[in-house]
Point group: C2
Chain length 377, copies 2
């Protein structure tokens, strides 16, 4: 048992959390689940506890009705920093990932990071804390995992990153068509199975913008050297160009279990029969095109916020999170997501090199402001 990697999975009932546990199941005798944390879906959480018998659990609701549970209840940040844990999988969605990510990083853990908002909101703080504690941040996003795999063993930094993007379900829509998009259409992503928030962000391309900011922090890469390539087949998950102009790419079917497993088993790679190799006889053509920044203004908003830095990225995240919630409850039109997020950003009084408290404050301001604007104030 001594060689098992000991995991805490935060957000275990979400899409990435469930797929993390699928990988754990598919690779027997590799992992021991020490901690599980979830925000909702208590029935699934109950099943996960019964199956994985974690020592520690957290559930967002105050008094969850869990049966026959011998696991100890603990605060989310405490699970992220448990001495018994080797690797913390942060698979929570949105702002809720920031605090446990910081707790895990400060505790010097290996952090398999799927939550992109934490790096977008507080990239400067998190990367500085990781440097100090020796924590390793292992990206779980497919694009950042691809870049990380391409950089493996290289003695120099990348000269340029080509972040690929499926383009989402509305790739060739006109602005008029985008205006009439429904929630159901936006939730039907052509290549990736993901949670609701990130699926909408993928439809607006906000998700790709957040990934640009994430790549900036993860790989210490100037924004000028991060390009976006629309690649609708989602087979190339991103590319890296080196000083000598050689390019490396990582490829595979669009299946989040591969980047999850790569982070979980790193530096090893393990066969997993549930992850089939690409059948090249079925792949006729991989195509590439430039993103349409006019049709997808969220992409431009995100990159601008990243370049301006300070509290702008936190405001971007917060405003987008609220706007997506409003869209999902039919209270905003699709095109209004970008409009309102843009307005909130334009009204923001930024702080450079903010403290965590200043980031949280900017986040709160942005949420309130977006709600006000949506309500017609």
């Amino acid at each position: 048992m001594g060689d098992l990697k000991r995991l805490a999975v935060l957000g275990s009932t979400g899409s990435i959390g469930q797929q993390t546990l699928q990988v754990v199941r598919a690779l027997p005798n590799q992992f021991r689940v020490i901690g599980l944390a979830a925000a909702d879906n208590i029935d699934l959480f109950q099943q996960q506890i019964t199956e994985f018998k974690p020592d520690f659990i957290y559930f967002r609701a105050e008094e969850p009705r869990l049966a026959n549970v011998s696991s100890q209840f603990l605060a989310l940040d405490n699970i992220a920093a448990l001495p018994e844990v080797d690797m913390v999988v942060v698979a929570t969605s949105g702002k809720a990932g920031l605090s446990p990510t910081l707790a895990a990083v400060r505790a010097g853990k290996n952090v398999a990071l799927s939550n992109k908002e934490s790096l977008v909101m507080a990239g400067e703080i998190i990367t500085a804390e990781a440097k100090q504690s020796g924590a390793q941040i292992l990206p779980v996003d497919s694009e950042h995992s691809a870049i990380w795999q391409c950089l493996r063993g290289e003695s120099q930094k990348a000269a340029r990153i080509m972040l690929t993007a499926s383009g989402g379900p509305f790739l060739y829509y006109t602005p008029e068509q985008l205006n009439e998009v429904t929630v159901e259409q936006a939730l039907a992503h052509p290549s990736w199975k993901m949670g609701r928030k990130v699926t909408i962000d993928s439809a607006t391309l906000m998700n790709k913008g957040l990934e640009v900011i994430e790549a900036h922090w993860l790989f210490d890469m100037p924004y000028e050297h991060i390009d976006i390539l629309i690649h609708p087949q989602s087979i190339i998950h991103s590319m890296v160009e080196f000083a000598d102009s050689s390019i490396k790419a990582q490829l595979g079917y669009p299946d989040m279990r591969l980047p999850i497993q790569y982070a979980l088993t790193y530096p090893e790679r393990m066969p997993n029969p549930e992850l089939p190799g690409v059948d090249w006889s079925q792949i006729k053509s991989l195509t590439f095109e430039k993103p349409d920044f006019d049709a997808f203004p969220c992409l431009k908003l995100a990159i601008e916020a990243g370049k301006k830095d300070g509290t702008f990225p936190a405001v971007l995240c917060a405003a987008d999170e609220v706007a997506v919630e409003l869209f999902l409850s039919w209270r905003l039109k699709f095109s209004e997501i970008a409009q309102l997020v843009g307005q909130v950003l334009s009204q923001h009084q930024p702080i450079a090199h903010p403290t965590l408290a200043e980031i949280i404050k900017a986040d709160g301001w942005a949420r309130e402001r977006l709600n006000q604007l949506a309500g017609g104030e």
Copy 2:
């Protein structure tokens, strides 16, 4: 001067040799050319000697008329094993590469190997000698350089290799059309600028077959795990699939100077303004298809010879070298290259785990036999 990498370039007036010296020129203060060797083109060789002032030279003709040369004449194998040399670039074409490659490997040199025939003919001997002497074989072929770059930093072997192939100038030709192919057509390769022998081998796909055997030896990969993918754009230079089904690919414009430079500067990568980065706005689509083993029987002959091993690959190389010479002098039709090489292979009495002498003998037998068959005997 102590930090300069000291090179011997064998085959300096050929295509790869000239491009090697272009890289040396483009990266000033990195290299010192200690030795130069060439088989023909004495005027160019004279220029190279004047420019690079090597200490040692070799020229195949007995008494070359070289002017104002203070370099010392030496046998080819002695240049390959010079104590003053850090890296030997074997850029000779065909069988002539075998002896100096072995000499360099036995002397424990880093060998930047462009000559694929040496590994095809004597892969078992060369890899065993390299293991014993500690020599490193650094592939210069674009495909093998791609695989080598993809494997960089990985702790496990590849699970599968996808060797890409442009398909050559006759990709969609019918057998009838292939029968009427001229020398000029065969020498006009759509994507790569190469020497005459390898250009014809690319048109028959014999070159891809030799590369399969080369990959087998370089990466200790069973033939069953080496696939060939026709990729006419020649942007992806090959791919590697790992145990977890993740794939890495290396990409770039088809320009031999990139794999040459990678081997020369390894483990560093250096900016070279003559090697432009890929302009993705110009690349709309990368396509893939299966090779047509019936239209290109040389591919099948080579893989079969590799699988049977022993003296078969040496016979393949020798018969092909003679057949290509006869084709280039208009004495064979294009389709007869495969026919005659196939006949020579089918008549061969193989020896398993041959000695170098047995390989040389098989080579001589195959050349004679092919000439006989071509002459109607």
